[in-house]
């Protein structure tokens, strides 16, 4: 992941920024907000284009872009008729920065499957529900019979465990 925290300085950075952030923005729109793929790509493109006029004003690029794609995704659903989840649900679904980092470090399906294999059955089930079946935190909580906030903690804990175990496995290999 390319991380530029300063305004664009020259031509060559433009495409680097686009390549570096496009994928992250699409991922957020698709997986956090369930925006359809093609629409998510359009939103990500518009976010990056809209940043261009603000490059002198934006102090930290990454949070700005993530904020913009989150608002864009909500706006998409407002326009397209889905009932937006209550603020509490949105807060529960909001990925914490540590989780985002873990997602960034698990780059493909193979890695994900291998990571899951390293886990105990409960964590495997939780992450399967979250990332393979696309359940919301609230749905997972209902299926596990726990409170949503606890389910959210479990997901984060399992992701961290997956990262640790998968990382250790990689080192051994």
């Amino acid at each position: 992941m390319t991380v530029l925290s300063n305004p664009l300085q020259d031509d060559q950075q433009f495409e680097v920024v686009y390549a570096g952030y496009f994928d992250l923005l699409v991922q957020i729109a698709v997986h956090k907000f369930r925006v359809p793929d093609s629409e998510a790509e359009t939103l990500a493109h518009d976010v990056l284009i809209s940043y261009l006029r603000k490059s002198h004003d934006v102090v930290a690029l990454r949070p700005w872009l993530i904020g913009a794609i989150c608002h864009a995704s909500r706006h998409y659903w407002r326009l397209n008729g889905r009932t937006i989840a209550a603020e509490e649900e949105l807060a529960l679904d909001r990925a914490d920065p540590a989780s985002m980092r873990i997602l960034d470090s698990l780059p493909d399906q193979l890695a994900a499957r291998e990571a899951l294999e390293c886990l105990n059955p409960r964590c495997r089930e939780i992450l399967h529900m979250r990332y393979f079946e696309g359940c919301t935190v609230i749905e997972i909580a209902e299926r596990l019979g726990v409170k949503p906030k606890y389910a959210q903690k479990l997901i984060a804990r399992c992701l961290r465990r997956a990262e640790t175990l998968y990382g250790d496995k990689g080192k051994l290999q």
């Binding site: 496009f22 991922q27 284009i49 809209s50 864009a72 407002r78 960034d104 399906q109």
Partner: protein, 400 residues
């Protein structure tokens, strides 16, 4: 559905941006950057070499018809809005004319919406400084209208709404203002925009002050200082100091008030913002009066009034004059108070300000002559004159 087909979250490496989109992005980036570099100093130069009355004709100048030049004009609007609001408005009108007439294919639609919205937001802000609130709100409507179709422009929309919240506050529409401020704070926070988060918090403090919740306002402002110092926004820092000074005066904490007003004046002086200096000096004059140094306060307020009159801001000068009238009444100088009140009436009449304001001032002068006026009478008139900004047709109701 196979297991692989259901698997969606970890397919990150597969998503490649459309090369055509990347090319559009890069081309737009280069174009905006070139325009930014090419426009450096151009707006200042053209405005400086063109008579004020001919500024609208600058809309035809090709070198101003691009994003970079419009950004320059926007900076000119902001730089003059305090000192010479009429010039600021003229530049903002020029910007909106240019922005609205840019070809539809000159920029990607998102960028075009940003350009136009910024121009209309600036126009709204200039109108607000001239106390033309209804027109200002219409300008913000235009700005938001451009942004509405684009969910990606939440940050731009929040910037417009912050300006709208400020205007609503000036027009005494507090509830609407605070709701907007809270909404904007969240959006700025989501985007990691600390500076504008502070602007919202500062505006909320101002709202508490207007609602006479002075101690809460003071605490709210004091809490902002560390963050304002950290991001080193001098204008915002001065504004917060000034606000702490005003709220502290109201709760009788004159030591804190004086320290912070002095800091505000020092920073505004360093920044070269005479109208803001005048507003802080007015706060200092009021503080002198409140802590019993009436003579010193009156002299100070006279100097501030002169400054407003030099800028042709008759209404502000009149409101400052009413502070003097109130101070004179406080020391029992009814004859001077009456004479001064009549002077304000003459200034308002000559400037053809709202006839209702003149009526209220006339009532005050007569009440002083009849020895029936008190500090509360003056405050009522001052409040009424301010309220005319929101409701120009309001009727004056006399109080004892």
């Amino acid at each position: 559905m196979s297991h692989e087909e259901k698997l969606f979250p970890f397919d990150r490496g597969r998503r490649r941006p459309d090369p055509a989109k990347v090319a559009e992005f890069a081309a737009t980036a280069r174009k905006l950057q070139q325009e930014r570099e090419g426009a450096a100093g151009i707006a200042t130069r053209l405005l400086g070499s063109t008579p004020f009355a001919e500024w609208p004709r600058l809309a035809q100048r090709e070198e101003l018809r691009n994003s970079g030049a419009l950004d320059e004009l926007s900076r000119e609007v902001a730089a003059r809005v305090d000192r010479v609001p009429l010039e600021s408005l003229a530049i903002a009108e020029l910007s909106t004319t240019i922005a609205d007439s840019l070809a539809a294919d000159s920029y990607p639609v998102v960028v075009l919406a940003q350009i136009r919205a910024q121009a209309w937001k600036d126009r709204g802000l200039s109108l607000c400084y001239l106390a033309r609130y209804s027109e200002a709100l219409d300008a913000f409507d235009r700005a938001e209208g451009y942004l509405r179709p684009f969910g990606t422009l939440a940050h731009d929309r929040a910037i417009v709404r912050l300006a709208r919240a400020t205007t609503l506050q000036e027009a005494n529409r507090f509830d609407e203002s605070i709701a907007l401020l809270q909404e904007c704070t969240k959006i700025f926070e989501d985007h990691g925009d600390t500076r504008r988060q502070l602007l919202c918090a500062n505006a909320e403090g101002a709202l508490l002050h207007r609602m006479k919740r002075f101690r809460e306002a003071c605490d709210a402002y004091l809490a902002l200082l560390p963050m304002a110092e950290k991001i080193n926004d001098r204008t915002l820092l001065a504004s917060i100091h000034n606000n702490i000074g005003q709220s502290s005066t109201e709760i009788g904490d004159f030591k804190t008030a004086e320290a912070h007003v002095n800091q505000a004046i020092a920073i505004f002086t360093e920044l070269g913002q005479p109208l803001r200096i005048a507003a802080s000096e007015l706060a200092r004059g009021r503080m002198f009066v409140r802590r019993g140094e009436i003579e010193r306060g009156i002299n100070h307020l006279h100097a501030v009034r002169e400054q407003y009159l030099r800028q042709n801001l008759v209404e502000e000068a009149g409101l400052c004059g009413l502070e003097i009238v109130e101070a004179q009444l406080a020391r029992g100088a009814s004859i001077e108070a009456e004479a001064f009140a009549w002077q304000i009436v003459r200034e308002f009449t000559a400037a053809q300000l709202n006839v209702r304001a003149i009526t209220a001032l006339g009532y005050l002068s007569e009440a002083i002559a009849a020895r029936k006026a008190s500090a509360a009478t003056v405050q009522n008139v001052r409040h009424f004159i301010r309220s005319l900004r929101k409701r120009p047709d309001a009727e004056f109701v006399a109080t004892a």
